[in-house]
Amino acid sequence: MRVRAIAAGGALLLLTGCGAADMTKQASPFANAQGAKSVTLSVQSWVGAQANVAVAQYLLEHKLGYRVDTVQVDEVPAWDALSQGRVDAILEDWGHPEQEQRYVKDKKTITAGGGLGVTGHIGWYVPTYFAKQHPDVTNWKNLNKYASQLRTAESGGKGQLMDGSPSYVTNDKALVKNLDLDYQVVFAGSEAAQITQMRQFAKEKKPFLTYWYAPQWLFEKVPMTEVKLPAYKEGCDADPAKVACAYPHTPLQKYLNTDFAKSGGKAAAFLKKFKWTTEDQNQVSLMIADQKLTPEEAGKKWVDGHESTWRAWLS
């Protein structure tokens, strides 16, 4: 018995003694077997991000001969995965200063990949049918007047401000408190739940107030109007507890794993050049989310119709 245990232990030591097993060099077991060039892209949970990846994937596969794997990861863990090389690129980032400091500036495991060409904006929205009936609801100063109409079972005696996925950037709790609003922030917990609830409200033309962001395909299905919050000024959101201003307009960024950026060849060069517009992205998002095309079909459809745009990315 003992002899065997020692032997086993020795074998283990031998095995582990050979060298370091760097987890950052380990690919997914499902990656391509034939040793083909492969790229892994992170897809975040919202459809806009799926649209970026759909087009990039289609071009990488059909014009550059790569094999593309996609992984769905939340925003912050995606940075971590990117740093470890589990993912080669994030195509749409909404601004994570803390992670940027850690991985891009300090550890240098992630390299900035330039802008996506799309500007993102987070805000509070009411459905347009409600804003038309009550034009003054679009200013935060009048929100308290409508609290009673926006009440739900979850919000208790207050009006409901619906927030979405826990992975999204939000100051809403602080905003409600600091602007002294008679509202309760209700977390839908996921974007899917939030969208489903908004569509149900819209079907019945019920009023609602929600945290939402643009560009987003849902605007085409449920037209919404933004509620004006106190104007954003540089640094007004520095202290999360004291925020009392609107969200900024963020030019969305791409990030690449540093090793991939250096030695990723054509794929890395292509992903750095990849840059399109809000309309382009929305077009593809709608095909995926509303017409229920698969991302691949949607990517193909867009690529077929916009040759001049993507030619520039490949050169």
């Binding site: 850690r102 079972a153 996921s190 149900q200 019945e204």
Partner: protein, 645 residues
Amino acid sequence: MATVTASTPRALPSGLLRHRAVHKLLLIALAAAVLVPLANARWASGSWPSALTVDLTSPLSKASDWIIDNRDSHPLFLYFFGYVSNAVVISVRAVYLVLLGAGWAGVTAFGALVAWRVAGVRLAVGTTAAFLACGLLGMWVPTMQTLALMVVAVLASVVVGVLLGLAAGLSRRMDKILRPVLDTMQVMPAYAYLLPVVLVFGMGVPAAVLATVVYAAPPMARLTALGLQGADKEVLEAVESLGTTARQRLLTARIPLARKELLLGLNQTIMMALSMAVIASVIGAAGLGDRVYQALASVDVGAALAAGIPIVLLAVVLDRVTGAAGDGTEPRGRAGWAYALAGAVVVAVAGRLLGRLDWPDSWTLNIAEPVNRAVDWMTGHLYSGVPVVGGTADWAGHFTTWVLDPVRDGLQGLPWWSVLLIVATLAWLIGTWRTALTAVLAMAAIGVLGVWTSALDTLSQVLAAVAVTLVLGFATAVAAARSDRVERLLRPVLDVFQTMPQFVYLIPVVALFGVGRAPAAAAAVVYALPAVVRITTQGLRQVDPAAMESSKSLGATSWQQLRQVQLPLARSALLLAVNQGVVLVLAVVVIGGLVGGGALGYDTVFGLAQGDLATGLVAGAAIVCLGLMLDRVTQPTERRTGKGA
């Protein structure tokens, strides 16, 4: 299916019980009279006193930062975790390549032939149909990825589980150490495992496999230990008298005698691994779970269902086949196995020669569209404005205002010491002072962790959902116990709901009940109902037919019969159903965080989404404590005799 309780409760004579109950109550009242004024004088506050909390934020954040900074360079990661991760990647890849190499025809043939050898022709046909359905739904490759991951995870779980089980089954001291650990893991929701694993291993398959192993190994360990301890003493003595060595005894007598438990353990492990395979998609498990998860993001129920059905089919087939293996008495001949293997190889080679390795694209069926249309219609017509009964949205509103809110406010309004007192009383009445102590300590730990208020919010949701589950479950079970036809009709429905990944029904649930705690409760009811119905039906059916006959001859109506004979005699099964209902409902609470359940579930999801160890781990730990407390309060324990508690 998700959990088993090892100890079966034994009904005590009611006179003795009442007597002891009074004793216990008196003792508790006495203790309360001494302790409560003390506690109240020292920390007078309604909610948990802040003086008694420990803030773990800074140490946990530091730990998390340390891991991230050292993950790529520290020897612990390079020489240990790195190899573990590497081994997982290599083995999953190997299995995956074999599965792909065998082609769809080879895999289907192999599955069918194994099912035939183990469980007979009917299951072989079922297995074939299940595999073909996976292909037809256009899910062949994801199914193979999930299968590859499952094979590795289940094998690892079985090895780990059997080793732990052997240790616990052969050594009383190990048993004492392991028992509470395994008990705790049993009530731990899957989501709570993900965060620490991800932190160490990063996103991806290794983390997913390891989380699955940690989740699925405990039932194997418990049942192995149970099987070894339960071996017939006389047989063992007889074997010993033959002059065998300890190892011979283990291999030739104890393990074969525990065969049934071992196979049941395997069955449980497979089921738990499969349910984890879906949840682990949140941390990059790929395969079917990932398809479900991605479909959730584009609010596409049809696509989610297309990936969910293969999971259900795999689960049902694996459950039946391993279940049949457990029931089978004599091992069959080797020749049959040889034929089966040869047959599978022939089919695989034939598939290879014909160049038909991948499932043909033209053979797929698109179910997403009709399903989405059906769901739209349903949610469109039931949501509100239904005459007389009102729409589902109204029900949800009423349920929230009239049930959830009062229970939550009531619980949160109670002084903290009285919550502990109630827990102690309930747990002691139903169990022993040990279980009561565990329950109270678990509840107190929640307070110490500083999440008292949200834990009580979660508790209120659990209680409300359990109440609904029990009402619906008992009613269904009574119907099923009275009619074979109902039971037969019910069986496939229960199978589907028990194994369907919860991600699939999150969207319909929100579309029906809106965002909030009501849909979270609804999802929990859907998940917990099958187990409650099963256990109760079984309990009611096992009531001695003689007792039923004699009550009938005394002229009892069928209602009287049910109330006065069947239910009391099935008491232990009913209690077990309550216990399972509570544990399963709690398991869905985290998922409920995704549809607006808030409280601890949301915090866990938040921690995972933001990589925030401090929030996520504390919430996860609190859920575990809550589970432990609820389990102890609802699980009747026989009076422990001398051997380990």
